[in-house]
Symmetry: C2
């Protein structure tokens, strides 16, 4: 039997996936499991997207242009313009989710062995994309004490070495919900100029900003057009994760023409998803106003109830729909498994994402979990009550 | 300005894409261009797939399971059963086209620097996938004189070295249309056992077999379940290239569980495309009977008219919807560009794919072109007449 590759062996397994069999067992045993572990929103997809499928008017479901349907890219430009970002259709390659955009950018910009600096905790799958491209992630820690703010410039400079090619940020952040300030972005701008680095930014949660805060895009940082690559996605914006439509965006012509070779090799992004996403551009502003108000309420409940639990530290983030909280426990992986295997309160339990999967520094985040507030308010309240009881009963509780 | 990666620089550009600007210019100048260069069929997508979108009944377009919707994978098993292939849903990962399936398999099974043997000419994008995974393609030539039959076992053995990890075939073949016989597959079976190699097979044209021939799948080769990985796609089968739904299929458990880590990193294959593809399973056999009869007619016309042109050698392939033919020309790339830039007959011209892009041996295929017979019979006839005139006029004609 031929052997699998070293890369295949090294490829990290999602820390959440490991818990799935335990969740299934809990459900089979009749327990209700509140899923606070996932990034799949429960918010309805805009009717315009569903209607676009109901009214699909084609004889042949054809490949699109490898960079995406031109009229869709034009409408994307109008969308970005509303967010004060000036781009042309040539600056955009439509991809199969932000995932494919990240893969294209990493392959286009980094050689195997090159390093990419990412403030941690970070979206777990960045590790997978790096492994698959043979690239090394150099984490620098954003601490929960600072609410997961951008680490100081000195930490970046300590991490930068001869193989450093890029810095990557997610803003607003998954898994922390942290929204970077204009000043923090300015820090990034200075570093990438000084060290001639690429700046990758995952801004898929752009709309989800609370308490009157404003999102600042890396696309508007002065004088670094050739350094910046943006990753975007309609998944969270329109609660349409299944359409698998994202984008890689940059004003660096060499980067885009090189990325196009990767895009052409896979022929086309999904056409149906593009048609739906083009229709999504007609979504009225009121959709976002309502959705953001709903998430804001949910966040407030989670943050308040969490901080009322003894020993819990839960920052109050300004964006996305995640919080990363510190719990009075010995080991988040063990705790999350215990919740599903051994715990129930009124026949209910909670599924959380252990934060260890969001760090690449071994041992970091051992007493932290990510909570996605993608459930309705009443369910969230019940989930928080269950969690409070669980933290009293858990044998590995640390006070 | 930071530099792009070596891999990005080395990534091959599609030989067809290079011609696109010339085709656009020809059209702008008012000439009709017959597109025989593409793999986008003109056949209507089955109504069941369009109806599945018209009747889409979801509130949220959600991620599917990373391996694909379970009910779709179950129906795929029933489809394979009809083709005498026994697989379970666990043997299947649904992917964004066969392209993603190939990427997953190459990453799962080969290390950077490993070699994969592919009879050439082969589907041009295999080069791109290999480059993107840092893997080396070792071509062995299938000659036009033998109608592009599988090279003899001695040629494989000459190519096999210490870094050889896999053999890849496409059956029926793109770009030659060649359909491998049971005996030829037996040759492959023996080689992969003897040298403990993976056998990758792209069988996306399975249904397209003519003249009463039968397709033999690598999945039915005895005793090599752990070696075989199958790539499939609904793109050509249902003339639905835009849904971007393919599959990676293997009975090797370690390969599949490793590939799942790559699949999980990108979360989900396209959900809308999967819903359409699941509905496609209801397509009546009469659809294929008609489509195959239509392609058979087209092939007959192309092969007959081509062989009637002086100096042309055109084999009569049994499968897919391509022929690769030898022309009396100095250089296929130059000829294909000349057709678009400088030639017209009754204000019409032809766009062909130079075969050089389907070889990785430098200089091979210099006087060959691939013709996709994806146009209606009348258009095909007109295109062949234009081509005949062009071959008389072309300044680089060689007799």
């Amino acid at each position: 039997m031929p052997k699998i590759s070293d890369k295949g062996r090294m490829m990290p397994e999602s820390p959440i996936r490991k818990l799935v069999p335990f969740a299934e067992k809990a459900k089979k045993a009749g327990r209700k499991v509140f899923h606070l572990n996932i990034g799949q929103p429960d918010i309805p997809t805009p009717q315009s997207m569903i209607d676009a499928m109901h009214n699909l008017d084609v004889k042949v479901i054809e490949y699109s242009h490898s960079a995406g349907i031109h009229s869709y890219r034009e409408k994307m430009c109008a969308y970005y313009k509303k967010h004060n970002i000036d781009v042309t259709p040539n600056d955009i390659i439509v991809t199969a989710g932000a995932s494919e955009a990240i893969l294209f950018a990493v392959q286009t910009c980094l050689n195997p062995g090159d390093e990419i600096i990412i403030p941690e905790p970070f979206y777990a799958n960045y590790n997978g994309f790096a492994t698959s491209a043979g690239v090394k992630v150099k984490p620098i820690i954003s601490s929960i004490e600072s609410g997961f703010a951008l680490p100081p410039i000195s930490e970046f400079e300590k991490a930068i070495g001869p193989n450093t090619k890029a810095i990557m940020v997610c803003n607003p952040n998954n898994p922390t919900g942290y929204l970077y300030s204009a000043e923090e972005l300015e820090v990034l701008r200075k570093i990438v100029i000084k060290y001639d680095l690429f700046l990758f930014a995952d801004e898929v949660y752009r709309e989800f900003c609370y308490d009157g805060t404003v999102h600042h895009s890396v696309m508007n940082l002065e004088g670094i057009d050739d350094n910046v690559v943006l990753f975007d996605s309609v998944s969270k914006r329109y609660s349409a994760c299944g359409v698998r439509i994202g984008a890689m965006i940059s004003r660096n012509r060499e980067v885009m023409s090189t990325a196009m070779k990767f895009a052409q090799a896979r022929l086309s992004p999904p056409s149906l998803g593009q048609i739906a996403s083009e229709a999504a551009m007609e979504t009225p502003e009121s959709y976002f106003t309502e959705v953001i108000e709903e998430y804001r309420k949910r966040r407030d409940i989670v943050v308040e109830m969490m901080n009322n639990i003894e020993g819990v530290v839960c920052p109050n983030p300004k964006g996305a729909f995640y919080v990363t909280a510190k719990l009075p426990i010995d080991d988040a992986d063990r705790f999350c498994q215990w919740l599903l295997e051994d715990f129930s309160h009124e026949n209910q339990t909670v599924m959380l994402a252990p934060a260890t999967g969001f760090y690449s520094t071994p041992g970091a985040g051992k007493n932290e979990v990510r909570i996605s507030y993608v459930l309705k308010v009443d369910d969230l309240k019940n989930a928080m009550i269950s969690l409070e009881h669980a933290l009293k009963e858990y044998p590995g509780r640390i006070l």
